[in-house]
């Protein structure tokens, strides 16, 4: 289904400054039909501002956004017809049932009838609960209702901002399968996230944003190759272990954000894969008890370090 002609989304020189502070700085990228495009960056990188400019919630200071050839700012009625989106959380009216919510949004578009509402309800598997008040829905169900709402108008571009926030592993897996099936139907997707692992599983091409700029754009495998590997160590006696590790100049201690989510007695280092086996042997011969060694998945932060050559600002 890959089409070679005009892109579904074309962003050119898009920038936004608020009170002379540059939030988004000259972004340009295209998304073609059937493509799953990841939008990656830490919180505060300008992802959400960019997405809001794509759907006319924020007026850009300069640059253009074209969806299916229509300028979003000049002709929102034509352009937004082709877009379904969830900006941050799936916000729906709590005091209505799921069905009533979908009816609300259906009335705002042309050619969405009851049949289509029933169709999207089935797509997101909400048939059983659709007539219950949204108040009683779980977060996952709200998410699905949000997606149903986004799909109502048969969009050519679906924009999901942090879609896996608050989803349990099962929900995430379902979402992934769902996203791929949509892309197979020829829908283009723009998915923003601050978690690399998530984007890795979902997207073909990514743009990495930092401080309002795109610092890298391309196929995810190509970008990942550039990232150095991290290794997590656990020792019986931490201080001795760390001291011993540091003797090798090729091993660099990292106090990266990964520390926050790992047990505090885990040491994170950056080291080439080739010397792991040798290092274990060296430490063992010095009588240091190794409890665990594990290669960490490359993280977004790590990718950043490689790309920007600087510490990640928290």
């Amino acid at each position: 289904m890959k089409a070679s002609h005009a892109p579904v989304l074309r962003v050119k020189d898009l920038h936004k400054s608020i009170q002379r502070h540059m939030i988004v700085d000259k972004l340009s990228f295209d998304i073609h039909s059937g493509e799953i495009f990841g939008f990656l960056g830490p919180n505060g990188a300008g992802k959400t501002t960019t997405i809001r400019m794509l759907v006319d919630l924020i007026k850009p200071t300069g640059g253009t956004v074209e969806i299916c050839g229509h300028n979003v700012q000049r002709n929102p009625e034509r352009a937004l017809k082709h877009v379904g989106c969830i900006v941050e959380n799936p916000e729906v009216y709590n005091y209505m049932s799921g069905w009533q919510n979908l009816e609300q949004f259906a009335r705002m578009m042309d050619g969405v009838d009851e049949e289509r509402i029933r169709e999207v309800t089935e797509i997101v598997k909400l048939e059983d609960r659709i007539h219950d008040k949204v108040k009683t829905y779980s977060l996952g169900m709200r998410q699905r209702l949000g997606i149903a709402q986004a799909l109502l108008g048969k969009p050519k571009l679906l924009i999901l901002d942090e879609p896996t926030n608050g989803l349990d592993p099962k929900g995430m897996k379902e979402l992934r399968a769902f996203v791929h099936s949509l892309a197979d139907e020829g829908i283009s997707l723009l998915i923003s996230s601050h978690m690399l692992s998530e984007v890795q599983m979902l997207c073909g091409r990514v743009a990495i944003m930092d401080r309002g700029k795109i610092i890298a754009i391309g196929k995810i495998e190509d970008l990942m190759k550039e990232a150095a590997g991290y290794v997590n160590w656990r020792f019986q006696e931490m201080d001795k272990g760390v001291a011993e590790l540091c003797r090798d100049p090729r091993i660099i201690l990292r106090n990266g954000p990964a520390r926050d989510i790992l047990p505090t007695d885990t040491i994170v280092v950056a080291m080439p894969e080739a010397i792991i086996a040798d290092t274990i042997a060296r430490l063992s011969s010095r009588g240091i008890g190794i409890l665990a060694v594990c290669q960490a998945e490359p993280t977004l932060e790590e990718l950043f370090l490689t790309l920007t050559g600087s510490e990640v600002h928290a």
Binding site: R52, V55, D56, L57, I58, K59, P76, E77, R78, A79, L80, K81, V83, C85, V87, E88, N89, E91, V92, Y93, N94, Y95, M96, Q100, Q104, F105, R107, M108, M109, D110, Q149, G153
Partner: protein, 328 residues
């Protein structure tokens, strides 16, 4: 424009499903019987003392004149009392009982007492979160990312609000009539009521005073009530667009309206207060001939001032709503 009816339907449904209107009807259902009972007490009390209503009016005139001759009463109070005496005299001369109780008469009084505070409050209870509520819950993002121009969204909200304001006024009158009529009887439609009072300083100009049947008077009142309620609704809409928090927008509007009633009762000293919208809300007073809160105010004056506030409110609402960035 094709989509506008559907958008209005959306907004009407939202207000309905939020059960706002039900709450308003409930409040009316509780308050009206209370006032009916109070009025009933007043009426039966008067009946005990005065066999004939003429005696009662004579007594009232005598009381008022007593206070007029006192030196300790400020001049502003005297002004309104002099007018009241003239009115009572007029009723007496034309043999009209101004307070003959009936369902229609009760509704008339209820409207004129609720126009400055109670009805604006009901209107705000419905409309003050019409935009800010969508911001707080984040649904505004869903609303504004649809292929619909922003001004149409706001216009649909305004239409829905207009509909509910009209309905509120209608329901208030109907409930008043039905509930109080149960006690006072359902008559009073054709009782003559005096209107057309014109104020010339402290003197009442009775040259244009004439009687209209009470039903027409009630209709005129309801129309004026609707107008001032709509101005409150439009200003409430503006505040709702400007202030993100629902609680804050409600408090802002309520304090503006209460400030108006306080300023009205402080009367004449500060002349330019008459350009504030909330001082002008009591439109029905002009029909009854109650002296205006500040000298120099007339019905056309108040209507123009309110209309100007309303127009400004609409301009600001649409301007901000269509241009503003949605950041939250």
């Amino acid at each position: 424009m094709r989509k506008l009816p559907a958008l209005v339907q959306n907004e009407v449904l939202k207000l309905w499903l939020k059960k706002r209107f039900v709450v308003i009807v409930l409040i009316l259902f509780i308050l009206i019987p209370i006032f009916t009972y109070a009025e009933h007490k007043v009426v039966s009390n008067h009946r005990e003392h005065f066999a004939d209503w003429r005696n009662q009016i004579l007594q009232q005139i005598a009381d008022l004149e007593n206070t007029l001759s006192s030196d300790r009463i400020p001049e502003e109070w005297k002004r309104s009392r002099r007018v009241a005496v003239q009115q009572l005299q007029y009723y007496l001369n034309h043999d009209i009982n101004p307070s003959e109780p009936s369902g229609v008469q009760f509704s008339r009084e209820f409207l004129s007492n609720s126009i400055t505070l109670f009805i604006p409050m009901l209107v705000l209870a419905m409309g003050s979160d019409i935009v800010s509520g969508e911001r707080t819950t984040g649904t505004i993002k869903m609303l504004l990312t649809r292929p619909v121009k922003r001004w149409k969204i706001l216009l649909s909200k305004l239409c829905a609000l207009t509909l509910y304001v009209s309905l509120t006024i209608a329901v208030t009158v109907i409930l008043c009539y039905l509930i109080s009529g149960f006690v006072f009887g359902y008559g009073g439609w054709i009782t003559p009521v005096l209107t057309g009072f014109r104020m010339e300083g402290a003197v009442i100009d009775s040259s244009s005073v004439h009687t209209v049947p009470q039903w027409r008077f009630l209709l005129m009142q309801a129309g004026l009530c609707w107008f001032s309620a709509m101005i409150v609704a439009v200003l409430g809409l503006m505040v709702s667009v400007l202030i993100r928090s629902t609680a804050a927008s409600l408090v802002t509007m309520m304090s503006a309206i209460i400030a108006g009633t306080i300023l009205s009762s402080m009367s004449s000293s500060w002349r330019s207060a008459k350009y504030l919208f909330s001082v002008n809300l009591g439109l029905t007073g002009y029909l009854e001939g109650t002296p205006p809160p500040i000298e120099g105010m007339t019905l056309p004056f108040s209507l123009i001032i309110l209309a100007m506030w309303g127009a400004a409110g609409l301009f600001v609402s649409f301007r901000v709503f269509t241009k503003g960035d949605i950041l939250n």
